[in-house]
Structure formats: C-alpha cells, structure tokens
Symmetry: D2
Subunit: 309 residues, 4 copies
C-alpha cells in the first residue's frame, strides 16, 4: 500500500506552518455577510485514506458553508439514479470563461458546458427537483448519508442571503427555461439550489463524503455502492477538467488531483484508490478558489509525490 | 409645403398592388397563438400629414398587436418626465446583434445598448413602473392620449401568452437586476412590460400617435407639447440607428426614415416636419420585421422621393 | 433656399469661440508619431453649400491625414463602377462593437458588417485593387478629382508608419482571406490600404469632395455625375448608421448628420440638398472621433437648426 | 509492476476487431489534398512500456502527418530550455471553444489560453524561432532524438499545402503581434510552424518520443533527462485539460489519459510511470480528433483498467 509509507500527519503539520505567509493575500467572498464575516485566517485540513484512517489539522471539525462543492454531491446523486439521461442536458467540457457567464449558454442553446458551472448545477438540481416531493431534504439526506454526520444542516440565514443576491442565477435559469432545459418552476428550483449551497459541513465531513470517488463508487461510511465504477472514473475526469471554475488548468498543473471548490473557502480533492482530502480557508484568489487552500493542496502533492500525474 | 405636391392616396393604392407578389414570403410570429393565428395576408397603411390630412388603404382601422412599437411610446413618455436620467441606465448605440442577445448586456455590465432592444425597453418600463402606482394604466392612457382613440386596450389573452413565453425577458431583467439596473420587483415589472406589448392599435392610431415626432414634440391629437424639440430630434435619430432590430442599416439604406417595428407586423415611420406613416402586414422577414411592410415603405419613399436622405 | 437665411460664417466664428474650453479633454492618436506629433489644439472648419459658396474658419486649407475618411471615398468609387456586387461581400449594419474587432467577423464567416469598419474598408479596397494595375494611384486620382486639388498626396512617412503598426489589419485581411473574401495578395492589398489612409487633405478639400452626397451624386467640382441618386441616398444612410465607429448612435443623437470620421481628427458631414461640412481637430475622444470636432458639429446643427431630423 | 499482468498484445488485437464498425463514421481532414487522400481505413497502434517493451498492431511503422501533435514536442523542447518564461506569454487553461477561434485571443489581449491551441503553439514556436538560426532543423532534430528514428522528416508537399491554406494561422499570428506577443517576422515564423506540422512519423515513433512523459522526464531512447520531473507532471496535466481541442472533457471522461491529437489522425497518450500509446486512423470526428483512434483508446483503458482516474 503506497499510502502506508507516507507520514500524512507530519505533512499536514508542515503545511500548516508553510501556508502562514499566504494569509491576507486573498479575500473572503463578500456578496453575502454570512461569508464575508467568517474570520479570514481560519485553516483546516483533513485526509481520509482508503484504509479508513483520518488525519487532520486545524479546525477540521468546524462547520463552514459548502457552497459550490454541493454541485459535486448533487451530480453524484443524479448519476446514482436510474433512467436519467443527464448528458443530453449538460455538457462535459470546460467552460473557458468566468463561471457564471451567460455568453456560452446562449450560443449553445441553453445547454450548459458542464455540471460544475452554475448553469449546469442548476440543471442537475432540476433533475432532482422534478423527481421528488421534498428535493431539499433529499439532497441534505444524501450528503448526511455520505458524511455520516447528521449535523450537516442548511444554514437558513445563508440560504436567505443567497436568494436575495441570486439574480444572476435566476437569469441563468430563465435563459435555460427559454430553451426548454428547465422543468421545475423557477422560484421553487432556485429555492432548492440556494439551500443546497447553504449546507454546512466540515473538512472531516467533506473528506468522508468524497470517499466514493476514491473507492470505485463505494461509500465506506454509508456502507453502500452509491456509484458504478465507470461513473466514478467519469466524475473524477470531470472534476479534473471542470471542477475549479476558470482555474482548472492551473490547478491540474500545480496540484494534479480531481477537486471541487466553493466560495466558502472549501476544496475537496481525491486520489483514486488512495485518499480524499479536504481543506478550508476562507480567503479566495481571483478565480474564486481558496487561495491558501490551493497552496496547501499544492504543497501536499509536492511533499507526498502523490498525484494522478 | 412639399407634401401638397404628392398624391399620397394614389401612391398608397399603387403600393397595395405592387406588394401583392411578396405575400407568403415571410412568416407570422409563431411563439404565441394570438400572433400566429392572424391572417398572414392582412395589409394596411395610413399616412398622417403635418397638415392634418389622413390617407389610408386596406384595413387601416383594424386593430393588431402593437408589440415592440410600444417601446417607442414608453420612451417618449419617460423623456417627457422631469428629473429622469435615463441615459445613465441605457445606451444610445445600435446593438449589432440579434435583438434579445444577452451577450453584450453581460459585457457591458447590465447597461443595454439602446432603449429599443428588449433589455433597454425593460429599463424604460422600470423607470415608469418605479414612479407610478398603476404603471400599466399610465402607459395605456399615454398612448390613448396620443392616438385619440380610447379603444386602444390591452389584449388580455396576448398579455397572458407573452407571460408564458417570456423566459428570455425574465433572464434579461434578472441579469440587469444583478447589475443593479432594475428597481421594480421583477414579476411586477414583467407584467407591466408584457401588457404594454399586448396593446391593440390600428395603422390610423399609430400614425396619429407618432405625430409628435413629426411636429417637433407637439401632439395635434392631444393638443399638447409632449416632448421638447431637442428630445424629438434625438428620438428620431435613435429610431434611425436602433429602431429595426438587426436590420437598421438595411432599412435606413432602403427606406431612409426613422421607424419602429413590432413582431405583430406593424411598422411606424416618420419624416420630420412632413408626415407619419404606419403599415401593417403580419408576415415577418428573418430580422423580425414585417416583410411586406418594409417593402411597402421602401416603395413609398422611392415613389414620393421623400426621405431624410 | 433654406441655406440663404443662415449666416454660416457667423456661426463658424461663434463655434470657434465656444469649443475652446474643450481643448485638452481628448488625446491625439498615438500609435504613430506622424499623428501624435500634430499640435493638439489645431482647429478648422469649412462649409461648402449646394449653391457653390465656401465658408471657413481656422486652418481650413492646412493638410492633415485623411485616415478612415478615405473609406467613404473608396466606397463611392466602387459604387461608381459597373458590374460590382459589393453587398454580397460586405454588410450594411452597424457593428455594435469597437471598430476593429475580429469577433463579429469570425462569427459572420468573414463578411464584415459594413464598409466603414476596417475589415469592410479592406474588402472595398480589395475590389479596387483587383481591378486595376495601379490601385493606389487610381484611389488618389479619384479623390483629387472630387476635391479639385492636385496637391492631395500620400504622406509617405505616414504610409510607412501605418505599415509598421498594421498587424491588426493584417489579421483582419488574413481572416477574411481564410473565408475567401479577399482576392488580392495580402501584402499588396495592405500596401494600397495603408496608402489610402495616408492621403493628406484639408477641410476645404474634404467639404468639396463630399459634395456628390449633397447633390444627388453630382460633383460640381468634377462637373460629373459620379454616383446614381439612389446610391447617394444609400451612402448617406450608411454614414448615419455606421460612419462613426462605436458612436454612431450618440452622434446621430447629438449632431443628426451623415458623417465619417478619421483618427487624424477630421470629420466630414453632409446635409443632403444643402451643404457639406468638414472639421479638423486632432484630439480624439474615447470612441476615436475628434472630440472638439464632434462638439463643433453639434453646435453647428443646434445653432442653424439644420439636420436631417 | 502493474503492467506485467496485462496482455497488451492481446488487448490491441481485440481492439483491432472491435473498432471495425466505426470506420466510415468520421471524415479525413479535407483542407489539403495530402491529408484527404490518405486511405481512411488505415489503423495502427503502438504501446511502449516503461520496461522497454513495444507492442503494436496494424501499420504501426508506417508514416503519417504529425500535425498538431508536434505542439507537444515543441512545448517539451521549450520547457527544456533555460531562462524561458513561457507562462507569461501563454496561459494554461482550456479554451472552451473551437481550437482556432480568435475571439478569446482578442478578449485576452493576445495571450493564448494554452500551448495546444494553434495560437499558443505559434507562440511556443516563436520562442524557439527567436533563439535559433535554423529553428526548423532544431525542431526536427529534437523529435528525431526522442523517437530514435532519423527518418522522421518534413513532408515538403504537406508543408507547402499548409502554407497555402494557413490564412487563419496568419490572422492569429498578426493579431498576437499587434499585442506584442510575437517576435519573429511572421512569414518566417509561419514557415517554421507549418514545417513542424508537416513532420512525418509512425505510431511506434510517437510512442517512443512520448516516453519522457512516462519516465519522469527521462528519455530512454535518447538516454537523457530532457525535462524536470516537475515539468513532466505539468505537461501531463496540460495535456489532460487542453490536449484534445474542444473535446478534452469528453476524452478525459471516456479515456482518462493525458493525450494529444492531430488532424492527421494520430493521437498519443500516456499513463505516467506505466506506458505511452499511439494510435493512427485518419477519419476525424466533429471535434477534429481521430474518431476510431479515440474509440480505440477508450477500449484500451476500459479493457486494461489502466487510466489516471
């Protein structure tokens, strides 16, 4: 087992020291108070190995806002459903522009480029919403099943704030609806979408919830095969090519792991067959990814020489 | 008086003959039944001179759906208000692309290129809506004042249909709201906007209502100065450069009059100091303008040698 | 005769006073020394009436660089040829973006939006170049015929500088060639194009050369019908909708005359059947049009109440 | 050693059978005769393992046109140079649009999104061209060193054809030059670029030449460390996120290997620490990648369960 030779705890401790100079270079998300008010120098990491070991540093059990990382879990949930043809409604290519641009969506007739840009994630949520009486609860339950933590709940203040600042997402949903790529009534759909982004979670929870991407679709937490092996590989490929907004290339280049980020400052990444890793640090870089979190993951793959490349 | 030498009635009758071969080359708007069901070969024209004469041909007193021509009258209405700085919220340049594109709106930070594309017209309506308890009624009253016809009313079936197919306009409004360029709650605003587009009018009404653009801002129907002379010239300039969707250049080239069209098949045009002219024929060309109507106006300015150029 | 009641000379003198506060607000074109080195506070105007009168103020007989105004004269020259179908190779719609953008050209398969953006002007020159052994000389001769001034010559220093900074125009030409919309070998074509932009002329020359657009296609200078009446109107329409880069709407709104500008600081405008007018002032506004020149023309149409609207 | 348990030869033979139904579904590149005239049903594969073993099927030693795969080797060559800051002149993000689009290049001020789109590859070649007296020869020598085959030569007929159809690349180069991102005189630069694309090679050569990406930067053929371990990983990351034109996402999703394709029908892919693999089949899919080649690689990673995910 390649993992056994690595001193994960020691590596995490080294990283905690080495990222310090980078605090203050990024900036909290500032479009809602609930995100801008989080102390900017928060830092936590958690590693979950395929062997069942957990390593952590910092406030790895403290909750933060999952934000766009929720897009990964709704995608997993949809791919676990039967009789869903998601790929006729969402593409699988990087977007090549800012993550919420309407331009490509219009040129490509309401088909979002991939499930990790906002428009694509809204379509994924639409699939869940059109098949459930209480889609918000269903999304939360799925995540709690994967993390094993019943305390992962929607922060209602955040959900409300998102709603109040969600005009761009409303524009995306309406544009897609004009191309017949949305089924759920838009206010209902956006309510579900904003709630999924307002879920609270910790680094430890995130690392656990991502384990199916490490274990060929099996969740050791839920003790259940939640994805096929084939879909697991495909999600990892999508994460690598589309998971980091407009910084996928740089992230693949520097870190070399499939990953998903959120503007709450979280990033979760996986090395298939080896480990999942989550990091949290609220200050964001110009691409909207955690600045210190990205640096920490780069240090991690450099120090351990563990990446997919 | 240059008009007196022209046999307007004779010219209209010649045109009625000469446009016949063009029926069937265009296609009714088909996104709502109320427009697609109108007999395609309807044809009417009305000329209103500065001297108070009216000339008409065809069903010039039959009502049709005003659609985007309403954008001209809401703009006139806003420019007649005091203390409104519309030009900080809407540009005055041609859009250069399809009339409802979101692309430029996004690149230009939610400021529509001009008041005659949908986004710009929605901002104009927003100005009226944010200053009135019953903006729909106010818009209708203004038009009835200019046309002198109290029978110009909203077609409720059309208004409802617009609402049901208005997702793209909802996308525009939400996008502009995300840039803080919309004040009115969006469902309320769109309701007003869809209602103004569903106003019914005739060629004779339209020609009368456009007279202020002929008479330096004075409405001989309302017997009132509704616009300054300066604003009147400016609206005519805007019509010429922005009034015909993505065909302003061709229209200026062929017809040479400031004009505004609607997908109901109406077009209203003016020659300042001389006359206003309205035409109605429901079949549209690829740019969304009345195909036979455009041809009729081209014949009119060719035959009379009356244009601004 | 409406002109006879206007004191043109008095108006020009008033304008000369009133534009003074605007010097220094714009900025000379700076991409080539020959333009950036021109004294910024130069100012001249010339009016040429349909009755043969000339009025002028400032250095109205001093030469400056014609630059993009040459596009107007090559278009006139091509439209005066027989058997040329220019409109299958160039559109007639405003561009809606910066004047040298490649974006629309690519989306529209190498067909430029109109003959007054660089790409369109290059196609117009291509038509002349593919039909003549010495196209540069032919272009110069045509302009000299219209201005009546054999001293209008290419400034070889400017022509060379253009060549050295013309990579963007080379990109346009190559892109259009990839869509089979250019025939002449590109280095030869660009040489002709850069030379036409380097022609030197004065306000008086420009106002005379534009007279065919005032006189239904007849040049009183050349004593020759150089354009059909129909094409004359059409060129005026194109000027109004496309002649001022990305400021056509504002210019039509403020000035209300068909016009063409150049980055040398010149603008020529016409009121059909009445007069042509040229202005020169080297400092440009953000749209690349003479700032003081635009202001002067606005004052002119306001003071005389003469515009097409 | 994971490879030892896989029957590579047997897998290649199975694939040769299973891809047969896909012949005729794609279409040879048709912009130059030298590519359109290649028999469409050609098929070859070669695998080169880290242990020095070679497996092959079909005409694996027959030469074809390397085309865009050359972009991989010029990038490797530039990264092997000292004192070159390539990343200030080329980005590392997927382009998200067709591979030769000018749009993003203009919006991003002449900085191409990555070194594998044409614009980016031209900048890479510019770096080589500006540092060498005979850059074409230097590029060929580098490739021959990596493949170990002195017979890899430029096909002069193809090079000439490229030149004659290279107007779009000339547009790209001129546009970048206008942003000061090209140093070499453009005709010289394009000559070098078109020659590198006209290099002929075989599957066996390609698989050998790609071995440094498998072996941490060491070429067992040249017996030389040609790249640092760090740059090797980075190139693999760039290949995965940017190597397949507008199909990187789908390719990562289906195949899961860093790879580079060319319109000659070749694709080369690597699994770091394990093997390189090359495939050749001239018929292309809508994205410009070998249709049968992509299918063959998908079958290969499915059958062997060897991919980076």
């Amino acid at each position: 087992m390649i993992n056994s030779s690595v001193d994960f705890q020691g590596v995490l401790e080294e990283i905690e020291d080495e990222v310090r100079p980078f605090f203050g270079q990024g900036k909290n998300a500032d479009y809602i108070p609930a995100l801008s008010d989080v102390p900017g120098h928060k830092f936590a990491m958690a590693v979950q190995t395929v062997d069942g070991e957990t390593f952590m540093i910092g406030d790895a059990e403290e909750n933060f806002s999952i934000q766009s990382i929720s897009k990964l879990f709704t995608l997993m949930q949809v791919l676990g459903l039967e009789d869903v043809d998601i790929w006729s409604r969402v593409g699988r290519e990087p977007s090549g522009t800012a993550f919420n641009s309407l331009v490509q969506l219009e040129y490509e007739k309401g088909i979002p480029r991939n499930p990790f840009i906002n428009a694509g994630a809204i379509v994924v949520t639409d699939i869940l919403a059109s098949r459930s009486a209480d889609p918000s609860r269903r999304i939360d339950d799925y995540y709690r099943m994967l993390s094993g933590n019943p305390a992962n709940k929607v922060d209602e203040v955040v959900a409300l704030s998102e709603q109040e600042h969600g005009y761009r997402n409303a524009a995306l949903a309406n544009l897609m609806r004009s191309f017949d790529n949305i089924e759920t009534p838009i206010p209902d759909l956006l309510d579900v979408y904003f709630r999924q982004c307002a879920l609270t979670t910790s680094c430890v929870d995130l690392a656990k919830a991502a384990l199916p991407l490490v274990c060929g679709g099996y969740s050791p937490i839920a003790q259940s095969q939640v994805l096929s092996g084939r879909d697991t590989k495909r999600i990892n490929a999508l994460l690598l090519t589309c998971g980091l907004y407009d910084a996928v290339g740089s992230f693949a280049y520097k870190v070399g792991l499939p990953a998903k980020s959120g503007v709450g400052g979280g990033i979760v990444a996986v090395l298939p067959k080896h480990f999942s890793i989550a990091v949290w640090s609220p200050e964001l870089d110009a691409s909207g990814n955690s600045l210190v979190g990205s640096k920490a993951l780069e240090l991690f793959t450099t120090k351990t020489d563990l990446s997919i490349f």
